[in-house]
């Protein structure tokens, strides 16, 4: 039985990646990539969490709402979303959109949002509201949309309060 051919030299692009607790700039010329931002000294105290894996079909949307994880006001303190695109997808097509409180934003491969629910100086609540939108909680939830006509996107989401 034939074995898989090994292609030499092993060629890999430079780019940012996570390595041993840091965001580093990895280049094929060094074993010790330059460290840019330390991540392993950060943590968020939580009381509850939820992890989801979602498949968004072409030209479809998904409403992220986790009212039961959120606090009484509908807020959470940590949202992580990671996208998984089909293997052969070009870098220029690795994006989707997310809508929060009426505004639409872009997202590539990763999004991390944090922030506790507080009452700011104008006495309005601030935080990440992912409650089910409706008469009780207005402006809640995040809508992820796949704008592509031929790509199915998988989303891995971690939510914590």
């Amino acid at each position: 039985m034939a074995t898989r051919p090994i292609i030499c030299p092993y060629v890999e692009d430079s780019g940012f990646r996570f390595n041993r607790g840091y965001l580093v700039l990895d280049t094929p010329t060094t074993n010790y990539p330059e460290k840019f931002i330390r991540f392993d000294d950060m943590f968020e105290n939580i009381t509850s969490y939820s992890k989801l894996k979602i498949r968004i079909l072409p030209e479809s949307c998904y409403l992220l709402s986790q009212t039961d994880i959120a606090d009484n006001e509908g807020f959470v303190s940590f949202i992580l979303a990671k996208t998984i695109f089909p293997e052969k997808t070009l870098e220029t097509r690795k994006y989707l959109t997310w809508e929060y409180q009426g505004s639409v934003y872009n997202m590539g491969k990763l999004m991390v949002l944090s922030g506790i629910n507080i009452t700011d100086f104008s006495s309005e609540s601030a935080g990440w509201n992912i409650s089910q939108p409706g008469p009780v909680y207005e402006d809640g939830g995040i809508i992820f949309c796949n704008p592509h006509t031929d790509i199915t996107i998988t989303l891995e989401i971690l939510i914590a309060r």
Partner: protein, 224 residues
């Protein structure tokens, strides 16, 4: 040969089969401690047998140093993990995350210390090839050790959208693309390439506001 675990130990500091005994307290003439002032009363001890042999002892999953630890979301190696004491309850791997540097790519890392009750505009750098847009924006906030939980926050404004909040970390991303049709984040609030006009949040740009009475350090990485 007998098993050591079956040995009758009566683990209670005494024997529950007998009545308790009185331990006398000290007084000013017979102190318990070397200090000869003050007196205490006697007290009666009652033993409760918690285990007769070693195997009866209930094993609990705790150590004294981490007994009161609350669950956390923590970054460990290449994973965002949900941990409770020493147990990893769930995790999301970022090991395969890779943001390639292209021929047109530039990046900039800035460190900013924000005064209390102040606002700063993120420096838009010179991402000319992508007309001011970036495809990766990582912001880390470090707060003073004496900051209370409700002081560990920063507000951020993007273009002309509602104000949003940030705790210790924020990562925003978009597609990696050259040219003018973009799917990233426009961090340039200027109309002119040489940035001689006044910044206008309606054009784009990100500003950070520290609403607390304590300084905050921000580390920001932007790349297109």
């Amino acid at each position: 040969m007998s098993n050591a675990n079956d040995e009758i130990l009566n683990i209670d500091g005494g024997s529950s089969s007998n009545d308790g005994s009185e331990i006398l307290g000290g007084n000013s003439e017979f102190p318990l401690s070397s200090q000869n002032q003050g007196g205490t009363g006697g007290f009666l001890t009652n033993y409760t047998n918690v285990a007769k042999v070693k195997n009866d002892l209930k094993r609990i999953n705790a150590t004294f140093t981490r007994f009161n630890d609350s669950p956390k979301v923590k970054f460990i190696k290449e994973y965002y993990s949900v941990v409770k004491k020493d147990e990893t309850m769930d995790k999301v791997s970022l090991a395969e995350f890779f943001h390639p540097i292209q021929s047109f790519s530039e990046y900039q890392k800035q460190t900013i210390v924000m005064d209390p009750l102040s606002t700063i505009n993120l420096d838009p750098s010179s991402f000319f090839s992508t007309e001011g847009e970036v495809s990766l924006l990582v912001v880390k906030a470090e707060y003073l050790p004496d900051a209370e939980d409700n002081e560990k926050m920063v507000f951020w404004d993007y273009a002309n959208t509602p104000r949003k909040i940030m705790g210790s970390i924020m990562i925003l991303s978009g597609a990696i693309k050259n040219g003018s049709v973009w799917h990233g984040w426009n961090i340039d609030p200027f109309n002119t390439y040489d940035h001689t006009d006044q910044p206008d949040i309606n054009n784009g740009g990100i500003s950070f506001t520290n609403p607390t009475a304590k300084s905050v350090k921000l580390t920001v990485l932007t790349t297109n």
